[in-house]
Amino acid sequence: MISKKIQIKLLEEMLKIRLTEEMIAKKYYEQKMRCPIHLSIGQEATATGVCFGLKDSDKVFSAHRSHAHYIAKGGSIKSLLSELHGKISGCAKGLGGSMHLLDLNKGFSGAVPIVGSSIPIATGTAWANKLKKLNDLVIIFLGDGATEEGVFFESLDFASLKKLKILFVCENNFFSVYSPIDKRQSKKRNLCKIANSLGIKSTFIDGNDIENIYLKTKQIKKYIKKNSEPFFLLLNTFRYIEHCGPNNDDHLKYRNINTIKFWEKKCPIVNYQKKLIKRKILDHKKLTKLKKKIFNTLIKSFKYAEEQNFPTKKILNEFIDA
C-alpha cells in the first residue's frame, strides 16, 4: 500500500527529528542554547505521519513542544538551531527562542507557549483560507493539556459553524508537565465525542504507528477538502524525557515504571526500523548510512548556528515603540 520510497522517507523523517532532538539534548549543557526546550523524543510518529505529503501552502501551527512539527513540515534545521542559539539567523532572528518557531516558506506558521493559544489563531487561518477561497489545509497540533482550555472548545465550535478546512490533532501523551491526565480530566470524558458533539467528525489512532497515521490522515485530508469540514484526530503517544529540558526524569517517579516500559517497547522509530528490516526494505548498513547522513547534516547545522552572529541593538530598535 505504501511505496518503498515513502516507507524509507517516513523513517528518515522520524530519524531526523529524533537525532536533532538528541543532539540538542546532548549539547544543551554547553549553555550555548540559552532558552527553555521542550523536546519531542518519543513523539516523532505523530508529527511525521500527519505532516507527510502536505504542501508548502498547507499551514501548520503548534505550541511549546514544536520542534517535531516544525521539522516534519520541512522547517529549516539551520534556522531552528540558530534560533535556539539566539542568533540572527534564527527563524525568529533570536527574538523568540525555542517556543516561537516559524518557517514561512515551508508553511510552518507559528508556535506559542501559552497552552491552547495557538488553536484559535490556526482556526482563524483556516477562516482566512475560506474567505480567500483557498483550498489549503490548516493543521493545529495540541496536547492533551490544551484540550482543557476553553479556547479549544471555542475554536472547534467555530470551525464547525464555518465549515473550515482545519485538522485538529491532539497528541495525548497523558501528561501536562508532571500532571497525569486522570487528575485533570474525568475518566468519562471522551475527546472524540467532544468533537462530535460540536458537529466535527473524529478518529482515534495509535500515535506511535507511523504507517497508520500516514494512511488515515491522507484520507482525512481528502475528507476535509472534499466536504469542506473540520476534523479532529486523537493520537496517543508518549514523551521519553522530561517535560522541559534535556534530561530523563524518570527518577522523579511521576510516571509509573510499567507505563514507561510499555511505551518504550512501542518506540515509533525502533519498531519501524525493525519492520522495514523485516520487510527487507532496509538493512542495518543502509540504516547506519541513513543515520550518518542525518548526523552529518546536523553537525554542519550546529556549526552553522554556532558561527552565526547574535542580533544587535539595531533589530531591537525596530520594535521599541515608546
Binding site: G90, G124, L131, F158
Partner: protein, 352 residues
C-alpha cells in the same frame, strides 16, 4: 475644505464603509455588528453592502480574538468590536501575549494589522461591570497603537490612519461620544497617529483630556472663561504613542496643568503624563500638576452615588480654582446638572 456637522457614530460608519469599499481585505466582526442597532449605529446596515465581510460572532471573545489574529497574519484586515471593554478582557491573553507581540515574535517577518474597537462608557446605572474605562491596561503593552478619538473629526482621521498601519490598533470609543456632533471632514481625511491636538488655546492653565474627558475639559474651560481664566485644552488623541511634546510646550506656557482621566487616575493614564511633565520640566518654577479621575471604587449603579464617582466639569473647575489660588464667586451655580450623573443628555431614556 467644506465641513459638515455630523454625528460621531455616523462618521464612524461612513469611515468603516469607506475602508471596506477601498480595501477588500477589511472585515468587520463582533457581536451585533449586523443587528438592528448596529453597534450604536456605527455599523448599521454595512452587512447588507458587504455581504461576506461583516460577521456576527458567537459569544466567544477569547476565541474570536484569536480568529481575528489568524485572519490578520494571513493578509486580511479585521476590525473587532466589543460593545463593552469589559467583554474584551476575556481575550486579554490573546491581546497581550499574541496580538501585541506577533510581529516581534516572528522577527518582524509577519505583521498583523487590525483594529480592536473597545467601547467604554458610563451612566444609566450600568454598574460595576459595564462602565469601566481601563485604557491603561492596553496602553502599557508595547507593540500596539492605542487611540482615543474625541470628535467626529479625529474619529474619522484616526480610523483612516489605523487602516494604513501595519501594527494592531486599539481604538477606545466612549458611548457618550457616539451621540455628539461636530465638524466632519471629508472621507479621506487622515489624522497622524501619535499626535495630540490643541482644541482650544489658552494661557492660564492647561487641561489635558482624551476620549470623553475632553468634553469635560471643554465644558470646564467654558466655565473658567466666565471667571476670566484662559484654559488651553489638549486632546491626547493617541495614548500610545504619546505626544508628550505638545503637552510639555503647553505646560511650559501655563505652568498649571490638570490631566483628566475617563476612569481611575490611580495607576491610570494621567499618571504617566503627570510623571513625564514633572520629570522633564523639573527646572520650571511654580509648575503645578493635578490629576482627576473617578473615585477609587467599582462604579455604583445608583445615580445617587454615580454622581459622586465620575469626574465632571465642575470638579475640574474646582481643581483649577485651587491650583490658581483663586476664589471663584458663586461657583456653585455651575455644579453638575442633575441629569449628567447618569445621562449623556436629557433626551436619553435608557435602557442601555
Amino acid at each position: 475644505m467644506l465641513k459638515k456637522i455630523k454625528k460621531y457614530s455616523e462618521v464612524i460608519k461612513e469611515t468603516l464603509d469607506y475602508n471596506l469599499k477601498k480595501n477588500k481585505k477589511v472585515v468587520l466582526m463582533g457581536l451585533g455588528v449586523d443587528d438592528p442597532k448596529g453597534i450604536f449605529g456605527t455599523t448599521l446596515n454595512l452587512h447588507k453592502k458587504y455581504k461576506n465581510r461583516v460577521f456576527d460572532l458567537p459569544t466567544a471573545e477569547n476565541g474570536f480574538t484569536g480568529f481575528a489574529l489568524g485572519l490578520s497574519i494571513n493578509g486580511m484586515f479585521p476590525v473587532i468590536t466589543h460593545q463593552r471593554v469589559e467583554f474584551s478582557l476575556l481575550a486579554f491573553e490573546q491581546f497581550v501575549n499574541q496580538i501585541a507581540k506577533w510581529n516581534f515574535m516572528t522577527g518582524g517577518k509577519v505583521s498583523n494589522p487590525m483594529i480592536i474597537r473597545l467601547i467604554i462608557g458610563r451612566g444609566w446605572g450600568q454598574g460595576p461591570q459595564h462602565s469601566q474605562s481601563l485604557e491603561i491596561l492596553f496602553s502599557h503593552i508595547p507593540g500596539v497603537n492605542v487611540l482615543t478619538p474625541s470628535t467626529p473629526q479625529s474619529v474619522r482621521g484616526l480610523f483612516n490612519s489605523s487602516f494604513k498601519e501595519k501594527k494592531p490598533t486599539i481604538i477606545f470609543e466612549h458611548r457618550w461620544l457616539h451621540e455628539t456632533y461636530g465638524n466632519s471632514p471629508k472621507l479621506n481625511y487622515f489624522t497622524k497617529i501619535g499626535k495630540a491636538k490643541i482644541l482650544k488655546s489658552g494661557s492660564d492653565i492647561t487641561l489635558v483630556g482624551f476620549s470623553y474627558s475632553v468634553i469635560n475639559c471643554l465644558e470646564s474651560a467654558k466655565i473658567l472663561k466666565k471667571f476670566n481664566i484662559s484654559a488651553e485644552v489638549i486632546d491626547l488623541q493617541s495614548l500610545r504613542p504619546l505626544d508628550i511634546n505638545t503637552i510639555l510646550k503647553s505646560a511650559k506656557k501655563t505652568k498649571n496643568i490638570i490631566i483628566v482621566d475617563n476612569g481611575w487616575s490611580f495607576y491610570g493614564i494621567s499618571a504617566e503624563i503627570s510623571a513625564q511633565v514633572a520629570e522633564k520640566l523639573c527646572n520650571l518654577k511654580n509648575l503645578k500638576i493635578d490629576r482627576l479621575g473617578n473615585k477609587n471604587t467599582p462604579m455604583p449603579s445608583t445615580k445617587s452615588l454615580a454622581k459622586l464617582c465620575y469626574v465632571n466639569p465642575y470638579d475640574i473647575v474646582v481643581s483649577a480654582e485651587k491650583m490658581l489660588n483663586k476664589k471663584f464667586k458663586n461657583l456653585k451655580k455651575f455644579k453638575l446638572k442633575e441629569y449628567y450623573a447618569d445621562q449623556p443628555n436629557k433626551n436619553f431614556l435608557g435602557p442601555f
